[in-house]
Symmetry: C2
């Protein structure tokens, strides 16, 4: 949990087996009512990475050799307020993938897509996702070409005891 975002990568590719293990780590996350309302798009194709980078240049895909798009699958949710849980479930899966990436010596960045109205339509169009599949983010991946120090974000003022 002391990982930090990596935005510059070497040209060493990430093996398919490693990417599958990252997705497997994502699928180990808990989900509300065990619905597992997710899907994952694993991208190593340089043209697709470049196209995603054109949608939003801060995707940090310029030097990334892979990406995983974590998507919500709304067809697995009920038709009531609980449908919103996919955001929490897919965020937990994303954090698992980031930590697994770090454990495998990879660098990664969580690049938000949903609910950004400026990029969500372009990303869904590019990936060809059907209406019930919502890309939550693009996780950029690769072997680190930089070694930034982790941020210390601990703030005692944000902790309360027993009640507010």
């Amino acid at each position: 949990m002391t990982r930090t975002s990596i935005r510059q990568f070497t040209d060493q590719p990430v093996a398919k087996d490693t990417l599958d293990l990252l997705v497997k780590a994502g699928m180990a996350a808990p989900t509300a009512m065990n619905k597992q309302p997710w899907a994952f798009i694993v991208i190593t194709d340089k043209e697709m990475l470049n196209a995603l980078n054109e949608v939003k240049p801060w995707f940090n895909l310029k030097t990334a050799t892979a990406a995983i798009v974590v998507c919500g699958d709304l067809s697995k949710e009920e038709k009531d307020w609980s449908a919103e849980y996919w955001v929490q479930d897919c965020s937990a899966a994303t954090e698992n993938i980031l930590l697994a990436a770090h454990a495998y010596g990879l660098g990664a960045v969580w690049c938000g897509v949903y609910p950004n109205p400026e990029i969500l339509p372009a990303v869904t169009k590019l990936l060809g996702t059907p209406e019930h599949i919502v890309p939550l983010n693009v996780i950029t991946l690769g072997y680190p070409a930089e070694n930034p120090a982790p941020k210390d974000k601990f703030n005692a003022e944000s902790i309360h005891y027993q009640k507010w």
Copy 2:
């Protein structure tokens, strides 16, 4: 990431230092635009745990010796669509806390609160949280009195390559 939910705990208390380390792990999660839109309520008081359990008995607080309530702090967000990012950020923090709990030999369960309209008002009232603080969940904690096998949720059909 191979942890599983623990719902039965021994009566061994969880030390304050350990609970603080769990919150610190939560605060190590990445957040959109580094806003850190969160607050954490650490509970060890048995009366408060019992009161939370009465709000919703599947909080699994009957034998839990501690809980951490992960809250969104909307005062740290912009007043546009990006305000919704607190759910993703606090979910990543929650997953970090669950994994840290496992690493420290603790058991835990992520019990959803937001956006459940049946329990959110009662939880905010009990905790005395102001309007800009939204409890996302209650993480029940304690030393495990059971040892369930982790669920294998891997599903190859949920993985796509290059595009949908």
